[in-house]
Amino acid sequence: MADIKLMKGNEAFAEAAIRAGCDAYFGYPITPQSEVLEYLTAQEPHKRTGMIVLQAESEIAAINMVYGAAGTGKRVMTSSSGPGISLKQEGISYMAGSELPCLILNVMRGGPGLGTIQPSQSDYFQATRGGGHGDYYTPVLAPASVQEMADFVRLGFELAFKYRNPVVILSDGIIGQMMEKVELFPQQPRAVEFDQSWVTTGKTPDRERNIITSVDLDSARQERHNQDLQKKYQNMREHEVRFESINCDDADYIFIAFGSASRICQKSVKIAREKGIKVGLLRPVTLFPFPAKEIKKLSKQVKGMLCVELNAGQMIEDVRLAVENNTLVALHNRMGGMVPTPEEVYHALLQKFSIE
Protein backbone atom coordinates (compact mmCIF):
# COMPACT_ATOMS: atom_id res chain seq x y z
CA MET A 1 0.00 0.00 0.00
CA ALA A 2 1.22 3.47 -0.85
CA ASP A 3 2.64 5.39 2.08
CA ILE A 4 0.95 8.78 1.68
CA LYS A 5 1.39 11.55 4.23
CA LEU A 6 0.60 15.23 4.61
CA MET A 7 3.91 16.92 5.31
CA LYS A 8 5.92 20.11 5.05
CA GLY A 9 8.53 20.11 2.29
CA ASN A 10 11.36 20.27 4.81
CA GLU A 11 9.93 17.31 6.74
CA ALA A 12 9.43 15.28 3.57
CA PHE A 13 13.07 15.93 2.69
CA ALA A 14 14.21 14.77 6.13
CA GLU A 15 12.01 11.67 6.10
CA ALA A 16 13.22 10.83 2.61
CA ALA A 17 16.81 11.15 3.79
CA ILE A 18 16.24 8.47 6.43
CA ARG A 19 14.43 6.28 3.90
CA ALA A 20 17.09 6.75 1.24
CA GLY A 21 19.59 5.13 3.58
CA CYS A 22 21.51 8.33 4.27
CA ASP A 23 24.39 7.65 6.68
CA ALA A 24 24.89 11.05 8.24
CA TYR A 25 23.44 14.55 8.41
CA PHE A 26 25.30 17.57 9.79
CA GLY A 27 23.41 20.85 10.08
CA TYR A 28 22.88 24.16 11.79
CA PRO A 29 19.55 25.91 12.42
CA ILE A 30 18.39 28.66 10.07
CA THR A 31 14.92 29.70 8.91
CA PRO A 32 13.23 28.56 6.69
CA GLN A 33 14.83 25.09 6.87
CA SER A 34 15.17 24.35 10.61
CA GLU A 35 12.46 21.67 10.36
CA VAL A 36 14.99 19.41 8.64
CA LEU A 37 17.22 19.20 11.72
CA GLU A 38 14.21 19.26 14.08
CA TYR A 39 12.44 16.44 12.25
CA LEU A 40 15.61 14.35 12.11
CA THR A 41 16.42 14.75 15.81
CA ALA A 42 12.79 13.93 16.72
CA GLN A 43 12.85 10.80 14.58
CA GLU A 44 16.04 9.51 16.25
CA PRO A 45 17.21 7.89 13.01
CA HIS A 46 20.11 6.25 14.86
CA LYS A 47 17.41 3.95 16.21
CA ARG A 48 15.62 3.54 12.87
CA THR A 49 18.57 2.98 10.54
CA GLY A 50 21.75 3.88 12.39
CA MET A 51 21.91 7.25 10.61
CA ILE A 52 23.99 9.88 12.38
CA VAL A 53 22.49 13.32 13.02
CA LEU A 54 24.66 16.03 14.51
CA GLN A 55 23.99 19.71 15.16
CA ALA A 56 27.26 21.42 14.34
CA GLU A 57 28.58 24.66 15.85
CA SER A 58 28.28 26.48 12.51
CA GLU A 59 27.57 25.90 8.84
CA ILE A 60 31.33 25.95 8.27
CA ALA A 61 31.79 23.10 10.71
CA ALA A 62 28.78 21.26 9.29
CA ILE A 63 30.06 21.25 5.71
CA ASN A 64 33.52 20.19 6.89
CA MET A 65 31.99 17.33 8.85
CA VAL A 66 30.26 16.42 5.58
CA TYR A 67 33.65 16.61 3.85
CA GLY A 68 35.21 14.24 6.39
CA ALA A 69 32.28 11.84 6.35
CA ALA A 70 32.03 11.88 2.54
CA GLY A 71 35.68 10.90 2.41
CA THR A 72 34.74 7.66 4.15
CA GLY A 73 32.46 6.86 1.20
CA LYS A 74 29.21 7.25 3.13
CA ARG A 75 26.03 8.98 2.01
CA VAL A 76 26.09 12.31 3.78
CA MET A 77 24.21 15.55 3.60
CA THR A 78 23.60 18.98 5.05
CA SER A 79 20.97 21.69 4.66
CA SER A 80 20.77 25.42 5.17
CA SER A 81 19.54 28.71 3.71
CA GLY A 82 21.32 31.69 2.09
CA PRO A 83 23.52 33.03 4.89
CA GLY A 84 24.52 29.50 5.89
CA ILE A 85 24.98 28.34 2.31
CA SER A 86 27.41 31.23 1.80
CA LEU A 87 29.45 29.94 4.75
CA LYS A 88 29.48 26.46 3.27
CA GLN A 89 30.94 27.57 -0.07
CA GLU A 90 34.58 27.02 0.90
CA GLY A 91 33.76 23.46 1.90
CA ILE A 92 31.71 22.82 -1.24
CA SER A 93 34.63 24.04 -3.35
CA TYR A 94 36.97 21.67 -1.47
CA MET A 95 34.55 18.80 -2.08
CA ALA A 96 34.30 19.62 -5.78
CA GLY A 97 38.10 19.78 -5.95
CA SER A 98 38.57 16.48 -4.11
CA GLU A 99 35.61 14.91 -5.93
CA LEU A 100 33.52 13.95 -2.94
CA PRO A 101 29.82 13.07 -3.20
CA CYS A 102 27.28 14.74 -0.92
CA LEU A 103 23.85 16.30 -0.89
CA ILE A 104 23.28 19.96 0.03
CA LEU A 105 19.80 21.42 0.47
CA ASN A 106 19.35 25.19 0.15
CA VAL A 107 15.90 26.39 1.21
CA MET A 108 16.27 29.88 -0.23
CA ARG A 109 15.29 33.07 1.55
CA GLY A 110 15.69 36.64 0.36
CA GLY A 111 19.02 38.45 0.54
CA PRO A 112 21.51 40.01 0.31
CA GLY A 113 22.95 39.96 3.82
CA LEU A 114 20.62 38.74 6.49
CA GLY A 115 17.82 39.83 4.12
CA THR A 116 14.57 38.21 5.09
CA ILE A 117 13.30 34.83 6.17
CA GLN A 118 10.64 35.03 3.46
CA PRO A 119 10.99 32.86 0.35
CA SER A 120 13.09 33.87 -2.61
CA GLN A 121 15.04 32.37 -5.50
CA SER A 122 17.95 34.75 -5.27
CA ASP A 123 20.68 32.11 -4.87
CA TYR A 124 20.30 30.92 -8.49
CA PHE A 125 23.62 32.42 -9.62
CA GLN A 126 25.44 31.07 -6.57
CA ALA A 127 24.07 27.57 -7.07
CA THR A 128 24.42 27.28 -10.84
CA ARG A 129 27.90 28.85 -11.09
CA GLY A 130 29.58 26.62 -8.53
CA GLY A 131 29.19 29.12 -5.72
CA GLY A 132 32.65 28.94 -4.16
CA HIS A 133 36.11 29.66 -5.53
CA GLY A 134 37.60 27.87 -8.51
CA ASP A 135 36.21 26.40 -11.73
CA TYR A 136 33.55 23.92 -10.77
CA TYR A 137 29.87 23.08 -11.06
CA THR A 138 27.46 21.03 -9.03
CA PRO A 139 24.27 19.47 -10.38
CA VAL A 140 21.38 21.61 -9.14
CA LEU A 141 17.91 20.12 -8.71
CA ALA A 142 14.96 22.49 -8.26
CA PRO A 143 11.95 20.84 -6.56
CA ALA A 144 8.53 22.37 -7.21
CA SER A 145 6.50 20.26 -4.79
CA VAL A 146 6.71 18.50 -1.46
CA GLN A 147 6.75 15.26 -3.46
CA GLU A 148 9.92 16.35 -5.23
CA MET A 149 11.49 17.42 -1.91
CA ALA A 150 11.29 13.73 -1.04
CA ASP A 151 12.07 12.21 -4.43
CA PHE A 152 15.10 14.39 -5.13
CA VAL A 153 16.91 12.99 -2.09
CA ARG A 154 17.22 9.66 -3.86
CA LEU A 155 17.96 11.23 -7.23
CA GLY A 156 20.46 13.60 -5.61
CA PHE A 157 22.44 10.80 -3.98
CA GLU A 158 22.35 8.86 -7.24
CA LEU A 159 23.91 11.79 -9.12
CA ALA A 160 26.36 12.59 -6.32
CA PHE A 161 27.81 9.07 -6.42
CA LYS A 162 27.58 8.68 -10.19
CA TYR A 163 29.79 11.76 -10.67
CA ARG A 164 31.51 11.85 -7.25
CA ASN A 165 30.43 15.44 -6.87
CA PRO A 166 28.37 17.54 -4.46
CA VAL A 167 24.75 17.90 -5.57
CA VAL A 168 22.63 20.91 -4.61
CA ILE A 169 18.88 20.80 -4.10
CA LEU A 170 17.78 24.38 -4.64
CA SER A 171 14.45 24.77 -2.91
CA ASP A 172 12.86 27.86 -1.37
CA GLY A 173 10.87 28.96 1.63
CA ILE A 174 7.55 28.19 -0.05
CA ILE A 175 8.37 24.62 -1.04
CA GLY A 176 10.11 24.02 2.30
CA GLN A 177 7.28 25.34 4.44
CA MET A 178 4.13 24.35 2.55
CA MET A 179 2.23 21.19 3.36
CA GLU A 180 1.19 18.81 0.61
CA LYS A 181 0.39 15.20 0.10
CA VAL A 182 3.50 13.16 -0.48
CA GLU A 183 3.91 9.53 -1.39
CA LEU A 184 6.97 8.32 0.45
CA PHE A 185 9.17 5.65 -1.05
CA PRO A 186 9.80 2.60 1.13
CA GLN A 187 12.75 2.38 3.52
CA GLN A 188 15.98 1.45 1.78
CA PRO A 189 18.76 -0.15 3.79
CA ARG A 190 21.90 1.88 4.40
CA ALA A 191 24.69 0.68 2.14
CA VAL A 192 26.85 -1.85 3.97
CA GLU A 193 28.91 -2.85 1.00
CA PHE A 194 30.07 0.04 -1.13
CA ASP A 195 33.04 0.99 -3.26
CA GLN A 196 35.85 1.58 -0.77
CA SER A 197 38.64 1.70 -3.33
CA TRP A 198 39.09 5.47 -2.99
CA VAL A 199 37.86 6.19 0.54
CA THR A 200 39.69 6.60 3.84
CA THR A 201 39.27 3.46 5.90
CA GLY A 202 42.82 2.98 7.12
CA LYS A 203 45.54 1.78 4.75
CA THR A 204 45.72 -1.99 4.38
CA PRO A 205 48.82 -3.81 3.08
CA ASP A 206 47.10 -4.72 -0.20
CA ARG A 207 46.71 -1.17 -1.47
CA GLU A 208 48.35 2.24 -1.69
CA ARG A 209 47.19 4.81 0.83
CA ASN A 210 44.02 6.70 -0.03
CA ILE A 211 44.24 10.46 0.07
CA ILE A 212 41.40 12.95 -0.12
CA THR A 213 42.81 16.28 -1.22
CA SER A 214 42.24 19.18 -3.58
CA VAL A 215 45.72 20.70 -3.43
CA ASP A 216 48.42 20.15 -6.05
CA LEU A 217 51.09 22.78 -6.54
CA ASP A 218 52.33 21.22 -9.80
CA SER A 219 50.65 23.44 -12.39
CA ALA A 220 50.69 20.86 -15.18
CA ARG A 221 49.00 18.27 -12.95
CA GLN A 222 46.57 20.85 -11.57
CA GLU A 223 45.61 21.80 -15.13
CA ARG A 224 45.01 18.15 -16.02
CA HIS A 225 42.90 17.75 -12.90
CA ASN A 226 40.85 20.79 -13.94
CA GLN A 227 40.46 19.41 -17.45
CA ASP A 228 39.18 16.14 -16.01
CA LEU A 229 36.69 18.03 -13.86
CA GLN A 230 35.49 19.99 -16.88
CA LYS A 231 34.98 16.73 -18.79
CA LYS A 232 32.84 15.50 -15.93
CA TYR A 233 30.70 18.66 -16.02
CA GLN A 234 30.35 18.30 -19.79
CA ASN A 235 29.15 14.76 -19.21
CA MET A 236 26.52 16.09 -16.84
CA ARG A 237 25.42 18.61 -19.50
CA GLU A 238 24.98 15.79 -21.98
CA HIS A 239 23.23 13.26 -19.75
CA GLU A 240 21.50 14.90 -16.81
CA VAL A 241 19.26 17.63 -18.20
CA ARG A 242 15.78 17.35 -16.73
CA PHE A 243 12.75 19.56 -17.31
CA GLU A 244 8.98 19.45 -17.30
CA SER A 245 6.98 20.96 -20.14
CA ILE A 246 3.31 21.75 -19.75
CA ASN A 247 1.16 22.72 -22.75
CA CYS A 248 4.21 23.73 -24.77
CA ASP A 249 3.42 21.89 -28.00
CA ASP A 250 0.97 24.39 -29.48
CA ALA A 251 2.02 27.38 -27.41
CA ASP A 252 2.49 30.91 -28.75
CA TYR A 253 3.99 32.07 -25.48
CA ILE A 254 5.98 30.22 -22.87
CA PHE A 255 6.56 30.84 -19.21
CA ILE A 256 9.94 29.69 -18.00
CA ALA A 257 10.09 29.25 -14.25
CA PHE A 258 11.52 26.84 -11.69
CA GLY A 259 10.56 25.83 -8.16
CA SER A 260 7.74 27.73 -6.47
CA ALA A 261 7.53 30.29 -9.30
CA SER A 262 6.65 27.45 -11.67
CA ARG A 263 3.74 26.46 -9.43
CA ILE A 264 2.34 29.98 -9.75
CA CYS A 265 2.87 29.86 -13.51
CA GLN A 266 0.90 26.61 -13.77
CA LYS A 267 -2.16 28.57 -12.64
CA SER A 268 -1.32 31.46 -14.97
CA VAL A 269 -1.22 29.00 -17.88
CA LYS A 270 -4.76 27.89 -17.00
CA ILE A 271 -6.01 31.47 -16.76
CA ALA A 272 -4.48 32.31 -20.14
CA ARG A 273 -5.82 29.18 -21.83
CA GLU A 274 -9.31 29.94 -20.51
CA LYS A 275 -9.01 33.32 -22.20
CA GLY A 276 -7.98 31.62 -25.43
CA ILE A 277 -4.28 32.54 -25.33
CA LYS A 278 -2.03 29.57 -26.08
CA VAL A 279 0.49 29.57 -23.27
CA GLY A 280 2.80 26.83 -22.05
CA LEU A 281 5.22 26.36 -19.18
CA LEU A 282 8.76 25.08 -19.38
CA ARG A 283 10.05 24.20 -15.94
CA PRO A 284 13.77 23.48 -15.64
CA VAL A 285 14.15 20.69 -13.08
CA THR A 286 17.92 20.73 -13.31
CA LEU A 287 19.26 24.30 -13.19
CA PHE A 288 22.72 22.93 -13.86
CA PRO A 289 22.80 21.38 -16.36
CA PHE A 290 20.31 23.87 -17.83
CA PRO A 291 17.73 22.69 -20.42
CA ALA A 292 19.20 25.07 -23.00
CA LYS A 293 18.56 22.81 -26.01
CA GLU A 294 14.86 22.46 -25.23
CA ILE A 295 14.50 26.19 -24.69
CA LYS A 296 16.31 26.90 -27.94
CA LYS A 297 13.98 24.51 -29.76
CA LEU A 298 10.90 26.18 -28.28
CA SER A 299 12.28 29.64 -29.03
CA LYS A 300 11.91 28.91 -32.74
CA GLN A 301 8.19 28.18 -32.47
CA VAL A 302 6.90 30.84 -30.08
CA LYS A 303 6.32 34.59 -30.13
CA GLY A 304 7.77 35.24 -26.72
CA MET A 305 9.08 33.78 -23.48
CA LEU A 306 8.40 35.20 -20.05
CA CYS A 307 10.82 34.28 -17.29
CA VAL A 308 9.12 34.41 -13.92
CA GLU A 309 11.52 34.53 -11.01
CA LEU A 310 11.57 35.42 -7.32
CA ASN A 311 14.81 37.36 -7.75
CA ALA A 312 16.18 40.25 -9.80
CA GLY A 313 16.28 38.10 -12.93
CA GLN A 314 19.00 35.48 -12.76
CA MET A 315 17.78 32.44 -14.71
CA ILE A 316 16.83 34.80 -17.54
CA GLU A 317 20.54 35.11 -18.37
CA ASP A 318 20.69 31.39 -19.13
CA VAL A 319 17.45 31.62 -21.09
CA ARG A 320 18.83 34.49 -23.21
CA LEU A 321 22.00 32.51 -23.92
CA ALA A 322 19.88 29.55 -25.03
CA VAL A 323 17.43 31.56 -27.13
CA GLU A 324 20.10 33.30 -29.22
CA ASN A 325 17.70 36.11 -30.11
CA ASN A 326 15.24 33.72 -31.81
CA THR A 327 12.36 35.23 -29.90
CA LEU A 328 11.48 37.94 -27.38
CA VAL A 329 12.51 37.21 -23.80
CA ALA A 330 11.01 39.20 -20.96
CA LEU A 331 11.07 39.06 -17.18
CA HIS A 332 8.46 39.27 -14.49
CA ASN A 333 10.00 39.16 -11.08
CA ARG A 334 9.39 39.88 -7.41
CA MET A 335 12.00 40.16 -4.67
CA GLY A 336 12.55 40.37 -0.95
CA GLY A 337 10.00 37.71 -0.07
CA MET A 338 7.19 39.06 -2.25
CA VAL A 339 5.39 36.47 -4.35
CA PRO A 340 3.29 37.26 -7.45
CA THR A 341 -0.25 35.96 -7.86
CA PRO A 342 -1.15 33.87 -10.94
CA GLU A 343 -3.27 36.81 -12.16
CA GLU A 344 -0.34 39.18 -11.78
CA VAL A 345 1.82 36.89 -13.89
CA TYR A 346 -0.95 36.54 -16.49
CA HIS A 347 -1.27 40.32 -16.76
CA ALA A 348 2.50 40.69 -17.00
CA LEU A 349 2.40 38.34 -19.99
CA LEU A 350 -0.27 40.45 -21.70
CA GLN A 351 1.60 43.64 -21.05
CA LYS A 352 5.15 42.50 -21.94
CA PHE A 353 4.09 41.06 -25.28
CA SER A 354 1.30 43.58 -26.02
CA ILE A 355 -1.29 40.83 -26.24
CA GLU A 356 -4.73 42.33 -26.87
Binding site: D23, A24, F26, I52, L54, A56, E57, S58, I60, A61, A62, N64, M65, V66, Y67, G68, A69, A70, G71, T72, K74, V76, E90, G91, Y94, S98, T200, T201, G202, K203, T204, P205, R209, N210, I211, I212, T213, S214, V215
Partner: protein, 265 residues
Protein backbone atom coordinates in the same frame (compact mmCIF):
# COMPACT_ATOMS: atom_id res chain seq x y z
CA UNK B 1 93.36 6.65 12.23
CA UNK B 2 91.95 3.17 11.93
CA UNK B 3 88.44 4.61 11.64
CA UNK B 4 89.15 6.43 8.41
CA UNK B 5 89.89 3.15 6.69
CA UNK B 6 86.52 1.62 7.58
CA UNK B 7 84.18 1.12 4.63
CA UNK B 8 80.58 2.27 4.83
CA UNK B 9 79.12 -1.20 4.46
CA UNK B 10 81.24 -2.33 7.36
CA UNK B 11 79.68 0.31 9.58
CA UNK B 12 76.11 -0.17 8.43
CA UNK B 13 75.60 -3.65 9.80
CA UNK B 14 72.47 -4.89 11.51
CA UNK B 15 74.11 -5.00 14.97
CA UNK B 16 75.35 -1.42 14.59
CA UNK B 17 72.02 0.09 13.58
CA UNK B 18 70.49 2.02 16.46
CA UNK B 19 67.80 3.82 14.45
CA UNK B 20 65.27 2.36 12.04
CA UNK B 21 63.09 4.55 9.91
CA UNK B 22 59.51 3.46 10.40
CA UNK B 23 57.87 1.98 7.32
CA UNK B 24 55.00 4.37 7.95
CA UNK B 25 57.10 7.24 6.67
CA UNK B 26 57.35 7.30 2.89
CA UNK B 27 60.66 7.84 1.12
CA UNK B 28 59.61 11.28 -0.05
CA UNK B 29 62.09 13.92 1.11
CA UNK B 30 60.55 16.20 3.74
CA UNK B 31 59.57 19.62 2.41
CA UNK B 32 60.40 21.13 5.81
CA UNK B 33 63.32 23.47 6.45
CA UNK B 34 66.33 21.74 8.00
CA UNK B 35 65.99 21.87 11.78
CA UNK B 36 62.19 22.26 11.72
CA UNK B 37 60.24 20.33 14.36
CA UNK B 38 57.49 19.18 11.97
CA UNK B 39 59.60 16.27 10.68
CA UNK B 40 60.30 14.92 14.16
CA UNK B 41 56.63 15.09 15.12
CA UNK B 42 55.71 13.25 11.90
CA UNK B 43 58.22 10.52 12.66
CA UNK B 44 57.07 9.99 16.23
CA UNK B 45 53.37 9.79 15.31
CA UNK B 46 54.14 7.27 12.56
CA UNK B 47 56.31 5.21 14.91
CA UNK B 48 53.47 4.99 17.41
CA UNK B 49 50.98 3.90 14.75
CA UNK B 50 53.43 1.24 13.60
CA UNK B 51 54.17 0.04 17.14
CA UNK B 52 50.46 -0.16 17.99
CA UNK B 53 49.85 -1.98 14.69
CA UNK B 54 46.92 0.27 13.78
CA UNK B 55 47.88 1.51 10.31
CA UNK B 56 44.90 -0.24 8.72
CA UNK B 57 42.55 1.49 11.18
CA UNK B 58 44.00 4.98 11.26
CA UNK B 59 42.95 8.08 9.35
CA UNK B 60 44.88 11.33 9.64
CA UNK B 61 43.90 14.85 8.71
CA UNK B 62 46.45 17.34 7.40
CA UNK B 63 45.82 21.06 7.80
CA UNK B 64 46.62 24.17 5.83
CA UNK B 65 50.09 25.26 6.87
CA UNK B 66 53.60 23.94 6.35
CA UNK B 67 52.28 20.43 7.06
CA UNK B 68 49.59 20.60 4.35
CA UNK B 69 51.41 17.81 2.49
CA UNK B 70 51.78 15.57 5.57
CA UNK B 71 50.06 12.90 3.46
CA UNK B 72 53.07 12.83 1.17
CA UNK B 73 55.19 11.66 4.10
CA UNK B 74 52.79 9.65 6.25
CA UNK B 75 52.03 6.28 4.75
CA UNK B 76 48.44 6.17 6.00
CA UNK B 77 45.00 7.12 4.68
CA UNK B 78 44.58 10.87 5.01
CA UNK B 79 42.23 13.71 4.26
CA UNK B 80 43.47 17.23 3.68
CA UNK B 81 41.29 19.81 5.45
CA UNK B 82 40.46 23.45 4.73
CA UNK B 83 42.32 25.98 6.89
CA UNK B 84 41.28 25.46 10.51
CA UNK B 85 38.58 22.88 9.82
CA UNK B 86 40.47 19.70 10.65
CA UNK B 87 38.57 19.03 13.93
CA UNK B 88 35.25 19.23 12.05
CA UNK B 89 36.59 16.94 9.31
CA UNK B 90 37.81 14.55 12.00
CA UNK B 91 34.37 14.65 13.62
CA UNK B 92 32.74 13.64 10.33
CA UNK B 93 35.16 10.76 9.85
CA UNK B 94 35.04 9.52 13.43
CA UNK B 95 31.25 9.59 13.58
CA UNK B 96 31.18 7.44 10.45
CA UNK B 97 33.97 5.10 11.56
CA UNK B 98 33.65 5.11 15.38
CA UNK B 99 36.02 2.15 15.73
CA UNK B 100 38.86 3.72 13.76
CA UNK B 101 41.67 5.91 15.05
CA UNK B 102 41.41 9.49 13.85
CA UNK B 103 43.85 12.32 14.44
CA UNK B 104 44.36 15.87 13.23
CA UNK B 105 47.72 17.52 12.73
CA UNK B 106 47.48 21.32 12.95
CA UNK B 107 49.62 24.42 13.26
CA UNK B 108 48.92 27.29 15.62
CA UNK B 109 47.46 29.56 12.94
CA UNK B 110 45.25 26.72 11.80
CA UNK B 111 44.10 25.62 15.24
CA UNK B 112 44.22 28.79 17.35
CA UNK B 113 43.17 31.48 14.85
CA UNK B 114 40.94 30.51 11.94
CA UNK B 115 39.95 27.16 13.46
CA UNK B 116 39.38 28.19 17.09
CA UNK B 117 35.68 27.46 16.90
CA UNK B 118 36.11 23.99 15.37
CA UNK B 119 38.82 23.20 17.95
CA UNK B 120 36.80 24.26 20.98
CA UNK B 121 33.63 22.54 19.87
CA UNK B 122 35.30 19.25 18.93
CA UNK B 123 36.92 19.33 22.39
CA UNK B 124 33.64 20.26 24.03
CA UNK B 125 31.75 17.45 22.32
CA UNK B 126 34.45 15.11 23.53
CA UNK B 127 35.05 13.63 20.10
CA UNK B 128 37.13 10.50 20.53
CA UNK B 129 39.98 11.76 18.41
CA UNK B 130 43.51 13.04 18.93
CA UNK B 131 44.58 16.57 18.07
CA UNK B 132 48.28 17.24 17.51
CA UNK B 133 48.87 20.98 17.79
CA UNK B 134 52.24 22.18 16.52
CA UNK B 135 52.79 25.57 18.10
CA UNK B 136 55.70 27.48 16.56
CA UNK B 137 54.32 30.90 17.44
CA UNK B 138 54.11 31.97 13.84
CA UNK B 139 52.57 31.37 10.41
CA UNK B 140 55.37 29.33 8.90
CA UNK B 141 53.92 28.54 5.52
CA UNK B 142 52.86 32.03 4.46
CA UNK B 143 56.22 33.54 5.37
CA UNK B 144 56.32 34.26 9.08
CA UNK B 145 53.34 36.45 9.93
CA UNK B 146 52.04 36.87 13.46
CA UNK B 147 50.00 34.00 14.90
CA UNK B 148 47.66 34.22 17.91
CA UNK B 149 50.43 32.39 19.78
CA UNK B 150 53.19 34.87 18.87
CA UNK B 151 54.85 35.99 22.10
CA UNK B 152 54.54 39.53 23.40
CA UNK B 153 57.27 41.63 21.81
CA UNK B 154 58.13 38.88 19.31
CA UNK B 155 58.96 40.00 15.79
CA UNK B 156 57.19 38.61 12.75
CA UNK B 157 56.60 39.89 9.23
CA UNK B 158 53.36 41.54 10.36
CA UNK B 159 54.73 42.68 13.73
CA UNK B 160 58.05 44.01 12.45
CA UNK B 161 58.61 45.99 15.66
CA UNK B 162 57.49 43.18 17.95
CA UNK B 163 53.97 42.13 18.99
CA UNK B 164 52.30 45.02 20.76
CA UNK B 165 49.76 43.35 23.03
CA UNK B 166 47.86 46.63 23.43
CA UNK B 167 47.12 46.52 19.70
CA UNK B 168 47.21 42.80 18.92
CA UNK B 169 46.10 41.15 22.13
CA UNK B 170 48.02 38.60 24.15
CA UNK B 171 49.31 35.22 23.04
CA UNK B 172 46.62 32.61 23.54
CA UNK B 173 47.14 29.40 25.51
CA UNK B 174 44.80 27.03 23.70
CA UNK B 175 45.97 24.00 25.63
CA UNK B 176 45.09 25.44 29.03
CA UNK B 177 41.81 26.65 27.54
CA UNK B 178 40.64 23.30 26.19
CA UNK B 179 41.74 21.56 29.38
CA UNK B 180 38.86 23.32 31.17
CA UNK B 181 36.31 21.61 28.91
CA UNK B 182 34.77 18.37 30.23
CA UNK B 183 35.08 16.83 26.75
CA UNK B 184 38.88 16.63 26.88
CA UNK B 185 40.31 13.48 28.47
CA UNK B 186 44.04 14.00 28.04
CA UNK B 187 45.69 17.39 27.62
CA UNK B 188 49.43 17.87 27.55
CA UNK B 189 52.16 20.18 26.28
CA UNK B 190 55.33 18.70 24.85
CA UNK B 191 58.38 19.62 22.76
CA UNK B 192 60.68 17.72 20.37
CA UNK B 193 63.97 19.65 20.26
CA UNK B 194 65.99 17.23 22.43
CA UNK B 195 66.06 13.45 22.67
CA UNK B 196 64.57 13.59 26.16
CA UNK B 197 61.65 15.72 25.01
CA UNK B 198 61.10 13.43 22.01
CA UNK B 199 60.85 10.43 24.35
CA UNK B 200 58.28 12.22 26.50
CA UNK B 201 56.31 13.32 23.46
CA UNK B 202 56.28 9.77 22.18
CA UNK B 203 54.75 8.58 25.44
CA UNK B 204 52.06 11.23 25.16
CA UNK B 205 51.39 10.40 21.51
CA UNK B 206 50.97 6.72 22.40
CA UNK B 207 48.45 7.67 25.07
CA UNK B 208 46.53 9.82 22.58
CA UNK B 209 45.94 6.77 20.38
CA UNK B 210 45.32 4.31 23.20
CA UNK B 211 42.76 6.69 24.72
CA UNK B 212 40.63 6.44 21.60
CA UNK B 213 39.73 2.88 22.52
CA UNK B 214 38.29 4.09 25.85
CA UNK B 215 35.83 6.49 24.15
CA UNK B 216 36.11 8.92 27.01
CA UNK B 217 36.95 12.06 25.11
CA UNK B 218 39.48 13.97 23.16
CA UNK B 219 43.27 13.89 23.53
CA UNK B 220 44.97 17.21 22.91
CA UNK B 221 48.74 17.29 22.50
CA UNK B 222 50.49 20.58 21.98
CA UNK B 223 54.04 20.41 20.70
CA UNK B 224 55.95 23.65 21.21
CA UNK B 225 58.13 23.76 18.14
CA UNK B 226 60.48 26.02 16.23
CA UNK B 227 60.27 27.83 12.94
CA UNK B 228 63.81 28.85 12.24
CA UNK B 229 62.87 30.27 8.82
CA UNK B 230 60.03 32.36 10.17
CA UNK B 231 61.97 33.39 13.24
CA UNK B 232 64.96 34.29 11.03
CA UNK B 233 67.37 32.24 13.11
CA UNK B 234 69.69 29.30 12.56
CA UNK B 235 68.25 25.98 13.76
CA UNK B 236 70.50 26.04 16.84
CA UNK B 237 69.66 29.65 17.69
CA UNK B 238 65.99 28.86 17.19
CA UNK B 239 66.05 25.95 19.61
CA UNK B 240 67.88 28.03 22.20
CA UNK B 241 65.44 30.92 21.74
CA UNK B 242 62.55 28.48 22.00
CA UNK B 243 63.84 27.04 25.28
CA UNK B 244 64.30 30.48 26.81
CA UNK B 245 61.19 32.21 25.54
CA UNK B 246 58.54 29.83 24.18
CA UNK B 247 58.90 27.20 26.90
CA UNK B 248 58.91 29.93 29.55
CA UNK B 249 55.48 31.10 28.39
CA UNK B 250 54.21 27.68 27.25
CA UNK B 251 55.59 25.36 29.96
CA UNK B 252 55.77 21.69 28.96
CA UNK B 253 53.99 19.05 31.02
CA UNK B 254 50.70 17.24 31.42
CA UNK B 255 47.68 19.36 32.26
CA UNK B 256 44.88 16.81 32.30
CA UNK B 257 45.16 13.03 32.53
CA UNK B 258 42.28 10.55 32.50
CA UNK B 259 39.85 13.43 32.51
CA UNK B 260 41.33 14.94 35.69
CA UNK B 261 43.06 18.32 35.79
CA UNK B 262 46.43 17.75 37.40
CA UNK B 263 47.79 21.23 36.94
CA UNK B 264 46.07 24.47 37.86
CA UNK B 265 45.34 26.37 34.66
Amino acid sequence: MEKENLRLDEIIREENIVFHKTSLLTDKVFSYCPGCGHGVVHRVIMEIIEELGIQSDTIGISPVGCSVFAYDFMNIDMQQAAHGRAPAVATGIKRCWPEKYVFTYQGDGDLAAIGTSETIHACNRGENIAIFFINNGIYGMTGGQMAPTTLSGMKSSTTPYGRDTMLMGNPIKMTELVATLPGTYFVTRQAVHTALYVRKFKKAARMAFENQKLKKGLSFIEVVSNCNSGWKMSPLQANRWMEENMLAFYPPGDIKINGELIKKT
